[in-house]
Symmetry: C2
Subunit: 306 residues, 2 copies
Amino acid sequence: MSRASADAVATLSTPERLQARVDACNTITAADYASYVPFIVDGHAVGALQPWFADALVAACGSDALERSSDGAVRTSASLTTPDARSAAIAPGLRELHDDGVITGWRDEIFPCTMGYGREPLLRVERAAASLLGVRAFGVHVNGFVTLANGERELWVAKRAKDKQTFPGKLDHLVAGGLPDGMAPSVCVVKECGEEASVPESLAKQAKPVGVVSYAMNYNGCCKRDVLFCYDLELPEDFVPVPDDGEVESFERFAVADVIERMATTEDFKPNCCLVIIDFCVRHGYLTPDEAGYIQLVQSLRLAND
Amino acid sequence: MSRASADAVATLSTPERLQARVDACNTITAADYASYVPFIVDGHAVGALQPWFADALVAACGSDALERSSDGAVRTSASLTTPDARSAAIAPGLRELHDDGVITGWRDEIFPCTMGYGREPLLRVERAAASLLGVRAFGVHVNGFVTLANGERELWVAKRAKDKQTFPGKLDHLVAGGLPDGMAPSVCVVKECGEEASVPESLAKQAKPVGVVSYAMNYNGCCKRDVLFCYDLELPEDFVPVPDDGEVESFERFAVADVIERMATTEDFKPNCCLVIIDFCVRHGYLTPDEAGYIQLVQSLRLAND
């Protein structure tokens, strides 16, 4: 960084410095949007495909499963009239794309493609295909925190395993995960708390829903549109989370002020965790409208009409 | 209400029932937007005028103060090169419009017209003219609440005086007010707490900034675009607010669940207070993403890119 730009950064307010972390989650340009091929299931535009993937998907799934409209959109075949029929027709093609190295990873986890959270799935696919299909995804993120005797708060921060497929080594929430097909967020939180951090059920059930953040990210070219349900979980001071499923290397507690500084000055945190932690900081008064850039930061935590 | 529609309402989730209160704050239609005449100050489009008011404003202020562009937009005269010069040139016209009954009310309070919160005002006008000018306004709203011994929370609710010019008799926050020219939100909160509810300064300073709500309302035809800074103020159980400036008839405490039910089933609350109270309910876990309509409700509390 040049001396001049370092000086410019130094004069920014805390909300202005944090804005870069939110902006890093909203990287789909107008040109990206214009280039995506609509993925239409049962008449509903649920996804957005990169042109090369649209071609690969149709080739792998075959014309019995998918059709191209005259405008290039990819549509599930009209003969497939139920979610089960559509899911079964497309599954072999997705597996083939995985075998060919196009779809990386395979979680053996069902991902529902819907027109909106809580609506009936129109199609179910393997979760590893969700990003490439550009379908809206839903997850839960839990801010685990401790209130010290002096009233100060500390956040539990996870460090992702170095061999994790996505964002290896990045800092993460106590608990976070994609919402499985048909599972309520409150149930998912308790399940993930147990699996990811060995939080006992009685404690995990105290996690409190506190809102939503959402973003639209260009993720390796994919149209990744996520809605994250945010939870606060206040933990006893003597509770120590234990990694349980090999995805987390370690847990550590940081003062909230230190987390803010780390987010403002580094890219150490997994990008979407920054949104959820900034939302925590807003709700708990760690940021103030007296500082420049507050409104923009707060309003950028959620997409409108999503 | 017909029996059929009463049954339909009864099956809605709590977030779905509260959505009507948020929607009531966002009532500017595309046709409204298309009809507004831009109000341009020093080259910046800061306001939106109804066509009849654009004509009245130009007639009252005169051609030394305001000009019409070829597209009909109202612009401050290019010869007025400073905020003070523009403010002085327009003031007599606004006073005339008040004397003629066009601008109702007069608060003797300066309202800054800016391109965004925290930016230098381009023009200063009497606050009573802000709605008709369609300029973005900023305010502070304080959720005053008590946590009972059993952990339940109650909100202090004000009842507006019956002779108040706007929203007489409606239920309101403990404290709320427009942000005066050049005053920081944290300072405004302490000032309004003292003026409106006799909250001592030491207590008022504990009010915690917790976010922002925003909306765009068709208010008697005006383009009313407001950004409200939300504060939480936890009060001792024995504290009783006292109306101090005649604008509030009485204060009463209600269980949060009762406030939610009252908002869901009546229009008793001042519309924009509902946004701030719903935000309180979201942040404190009184609503849950397990219920239908949660995402839409939460995302509708703030306008994007405002």
